[in-house]
């Protein structure tokens, strides 16, 4: 609730949005990005009036602490005490899954951002759930699109838990579709300090490309370089995450990979506005990985309300949102009818040294279109 700007009393005529995100704990920087993006998104979409379809729009941020129990409690508090009409969130997939059943129960639409687990719009799907965030399969499709070609030999390295397995599996599928050949799949303890054995095995498998799915701070980059993986003719590819992680990727300069957002990549008005306003508001900082996502979620909210003309009843919203397209900093997104996943563009990049910063930055190689990265439908 740090940001209930423009909120002035009367609730009858206002529409309320509850945003769940991690403001403390390991994911707090993600939470902050989402929060800033969402605030700016609201401003952009309403031209600063904070009104849609003649109604005031109010929003509340709640900290899930990256704990499903807290997430659920906060969601309840939003739904009951604040009587929000729409939920947005959250930074972790676990938290999100603990909340989506509530959306169904209360018959309110929930826009998932930036949690990426496939199951949210897959096996655990319910009608009230929409997602502006990309899911793991989209990441994978983007990664595959960036490197896979007929006959290319690929290997994967991923952390040994759901996120890693989902990501690797989706990548392999997508890459094999493009004609690539899988030569090795490697999973490493997420908390490991030593990746020698894993890297050793990959080297032995002699792939052309090594696709690394990694999240969390304990990165394998140093060791990949130290073990001279690239010298042995293996190209490393991975997703480029938020700015804070870029310095640690310095050893990987030259790598081809993909990202879902970096502020210089998308070329459209919304993004230009975002960059400018973000710098203005936040000490000259540029928007980061999930800032665009937060903004997209806000834009989706506003677009949907405009479409229903202020009616936030769950069913009405669902009908309006299915198939809805809306403009975001990442180009036009569309909620796919079948599983409510927003199809969106992603970016194939190379990591290059920059003059401006002392860390490497992703440079656009090619925009991967929404169709190209469309994930399989998994909720049937």
């Amino acid at each position: 609730a740090c940001g209930d700007e423009g909120a002035s009393g009367d609730s009858d005529d206002s529409i309320k949005v509850g945003v769940l995100l991690s403001q403390t704990g390991a994911l707090e920087s993600y939470g902050l990005q989402t929060q800033r993006g969402f605030e700016l998104g609201m401003e952009y979409a309403t031209d600063g009036t904070m009104e849609v379809a003649g109604k005031k729009i109010e929003y509340y941020f709640e900290d899930t602490e990256t704990d499903p129990t807290v997430a659920r409690q906060k969601a309840l508090s939003l739904l009951e005490d604040k009587e929000v009409d729409i939920l947005v969130g959250s930074s972790s997939s676990g938290d999100t899954l603990a909340v989506t059943p509530l959306a169904e129960e209360y018959e309110k639409v929930m826009i998932v951002e930036p949690a990426a687990a496939d199951s949210i719009t897959g096996s655990e799907y319910n009608d009230y759930v929409f997602r502006t965030a990309r899911n793991s399969s989209q990441d994978a499709a983007a990664a595959a699109a960036a490197v896979a070609k007929e006959g290319v030999k690929i290997a994967t390295l991923a952390p040994d838990y759901s996120f890693g397995h989902d990501g690797a599996k989706a990548f392999i599928e997508a890459a094999e579709d493009l004609g690539a050949v899988l030569v090795h799949e490697e999973y490493a303890d997420q908390a490991a300090t030593d990746f020698t054995a894993n890297i050793q095995k990959i080297i032995e498998a002699e792939p052309d490309y090594l696709f690394v799915v990694w999240a969390g701070a304990n990165t394998p980059w140093n060791q990949i370089v130290d073990m001279k993986v690239q010298e042995q003719g293996i190209k490393v590819t991975t997703g480029v995450a938020d700015i804070a992680t870029l310095p640690s990727m310095a050893p990987l300069v030259g790598m081809e990979g993909f990202t879902l957002y970096y502020h210089t990549l998308p070329d459209n008005e919304v993004n230009d506005w975002l960059i400018e306003e973000h710098k203005k508001k936040h000490d000259g900082e540029v928007p980061d990985l999930f800032t665009a996502g937060g903004m997209s979620a806000a834009l989706a909210v506003v677009a949907a309300i405009e479409k229903t003309d202020g009616d936030t009843t769950g069913d009405v919203m669902i009908e309006a949102m299915e198939g809805m397209s809306f403009d975001t900093p990442k180009g036009t997104m569309t909620f796919r009818e079948e599983d409510h996943q927003a199809l969106q563009e992603m970016y194939s990049v190379t990591l290059e040294e920059s003059d401006e910063f002392d860390y490497p930055v992703p440079v656009l190689k090619r925009v991967l279109t929404a169709e190209e990265t469309a994930p399989p439908i998994m909720n049937q």
Binding site: G25, A192, A197, N198, N218, T219, W221, D226
Partner: protein, 286 residues
């Protein structure tokens, strides 16, 4: 053969890193019997202050000194304010040190910001060289050497002086050791400070190894340290070294030969050791 060798070297390096981490806890938990859950806090503070200085001054060795000083100071504060009132009472130790751990961890974010920080080894320790077909990473060699240095240093201090003896006696019967004319409070404080300094040092050394530091890493690693101290045998320095190397090697080899079990390797190792040697690998002897 090359492979085995390479796994061996890297396992050793990991083990040594774990040993450095556990060495401080061997003093504080193993010897002084304090369940110090704030150990991870000392570890991250060492890492952050060291790295901060390293990035400012570009001098890795000085940065190591800075982290040691941080450790000493924090150790002093921790001992005086947090641990002193609860010697001998495990239950209170758990609560108060966990509380302090939370404070230390959050303060990191206040002072240094919540984002992770990337760290690289200094130029002279960057990269690797090949011996035959074996890749040897310089920084790891450095860790192995330093690990042995620390081990021998502390080992000789404990052996050559009565400090180790006094601490062990003081833990068993504080009154009696005082009646023998020893200011046990002061001794405990010193030992605690050294333990804290070692935690801080290992934090600093760990930073370039893993490439990044972040506030939450403290708690993760302190559990590992507890495991090592216990399976090594409470209070045994040699035991900790062996246990740490064992953990490091087990991780390396399991990851290669039984990757499916690598998540469970620490726990399996600990369970096996404790079921077959309930007192840990080494027992404290004179």
């Amino acid at each position: 053969m090359d492979l085995v060798f390479s796994l061996l070297i890297n396992g050793l390096a990991t083990g040594m890193l774990i040993f450095l981490l556990a060495a401080g806890l061997t003093l504080i938990f193993g010897l002084m019997d304090v369940l110090n859950f704030a150990h991870g806090g000392l570890f991250i503070w060492g890492a952050y202050t060291g790295v901060w200085f390293y990035q400012m001054s570009d001098s890795f060795l000085l940065a190591i000194m800075v982290s040691i000083i941080t450790g000493l100071l924090l150790g002093l504060i921790t001992e005086k304010l947090i641990v002193r009132p609860v010697y001998g009472n495990h239950i209170q130790q758990i609560l108060i040190t966990l509380g302090f751990m939370l404070v230390l961890q959050e303060l990191i974010k206040v002072v240094f910001g919540p984002d992770q920080k990337a760290v690289f080894p200094p130029g002279w320790l960057q990269g690797s060289f090949m011996v035959g077909d074996i890749v040897i990473i310089k920084y790891r060699l450095f860790i192995i050497v330093l690990g042995f240095l620390v081990f021998f240093l502390i080992f000789f201090i404990l052996k050559r002086t009565r400090i180790g003896l006094i601490v062990r006696a003081g833990v068993i019967d504080k009154e009696m050791i005082q009646s023998l004319g020893i200011n046990i409070r002061f001794v405990f404080m010193l030992v605690f400070m050294v333990g804290a300094a070692m935690a801080a040092l290992s934090g600093m050394l760990h930073a370039p190894y893993s490439g990044v530091i972040y506030a939450e890493m403290g708690l993760e690693f302190s559990i590992l340290a507890f495991i090592v101290v216990v399976i090594g045998g409470m209070g045994s320095f040699t035991g900790s070294l062996f246990a740490a190397l064992l953990v490091g090697l087990a991780q390396a080899f399991m990851a290669y030969y039984f990757p499916a079990l690598s998540l469970a390797v620490n726990m399996l190792l600990m369970a096996t050791v404790l079921i077959f040697r309930p007192q840990g690998l080494f027992r404290v002897k004179g």
